[in-house]
Symmetry: C2
């Protein structure tokens, strides 16, 4: 759980007492690859800190998977809109690889918000980060060419995500056809 401790300390500098109190409320879980953790239509009861692994969120559009987010070691993930307002999720959360996650429930986090302003701060920072992430993705979807999108993706995303997420999932995340992505990858490896 050292990864989580380090990340929280970077964000909100918890005291030893605060960390121990928080640690007791976390449940660590292991999931095999391709396991659905949150299913579209259910409520996201928890947020997950990834100790080790690779996960994605996606929804179905006309039977086709549209990937909306990838996260790996040291990052948080959930079906975030569902989590913050406790309404049915519009996205599925699934493991891509075998994953170990630390699970923080909505009830726990809400209680922590109430008793310790550092967790309010953490909540604010997570919300702001998620806002920036979705606004950045939306803007890039609307303004970049397919090649620019992929070059940006490999530059700015975690190496593990770039290397281990299947190509067709990256293509749907970037809003480009799998054949286009394949062509771009060939161009890049040649040039």
């Amino acid at each position: 759980m050292n990864n989580l401790k380090k990340i929280l300390n970077n964000l909100v500098q918890l005291s030893a007492v605060e960390w121990n109190n928080f640690k007791e409320k976390i449940v660590t879980q292991e999931y095999k690859s391709n396991t659905t953790i949150i299913k579209e239509g259910n409520i996201a009861n928890s947020i997950y800190f990834i100790e080790k692994g690779l996960l994605r969120t996606y929804y179905l559009q006309n039977g086709k998977e549209i990937n909306t987010y990838f996260a790996c070691d040291g990052q948080f993930i959930t079906s975030y809109a569902s989590f913050i307002i406790q309404t049915p999720a519009l996205e599925n959360l699934e493991t891509i690889e075998n994953s170990i996650v630390h699970t923080i429930s909505f009830t726990t986090l809400t209680e922590l918000y109430r008793i310790d302003s550092k967790f309010e701060k953490l909540g604010r920072m997570l919300a702001e980060k998620n806002y920036l992430c979705v606004i950045d993705r939306t803007r890039k979807m609307q303004t970049l060419t397919a090649k620019q999108k992929y070059l940006d993706f490999i530059e700015t995303y975690h190496k593990k995500i770039v290397q281990s997420v299947p190509q067709h999932q990256i293509a749907s995340y970037l809003g480009i056809a799998p054949e286009t992505l394949s062509r771009i990858r060939k161009q890049i490896s040649i040039s």
Copy 2:
């Protein structure tokens, strides 16, 4: 300033002392219609609570204005990504009508975060609301037909926004051609 007091009380229940302390830090400003408050490339130093008025954020793409947000009486607006990380804005903030706004600077809000957890909570709630707003818009852009988008817009947005924002600005916000919007509006008024 009663509107702002009411909204803050709904969100975070400020005491009289907290409200008075907060109120002293706010600057109220009046702007004529079509005034640029934040210019693309500059840093958004403040967030604005609209006492009365109508504002929008937009960016330019190939010389064309793409509207990204509208807000009116009782709502907050800024070039939010720029505001939270204090980097150059990718969007302009402009008044559509003559507007009276209460201006809360980044410095003030950051200081309030530090001294009073209720403002951390407010910051979290604003960030979560903005996240939900952008994710909802993105999802609808990707999944709804032009007619569905407009029907959703008139159902879910503030009446003042629906009635007073120029049609071509609504069209660019919904990602549909002005002619298409005009056709949809005729269909609706006939049916």
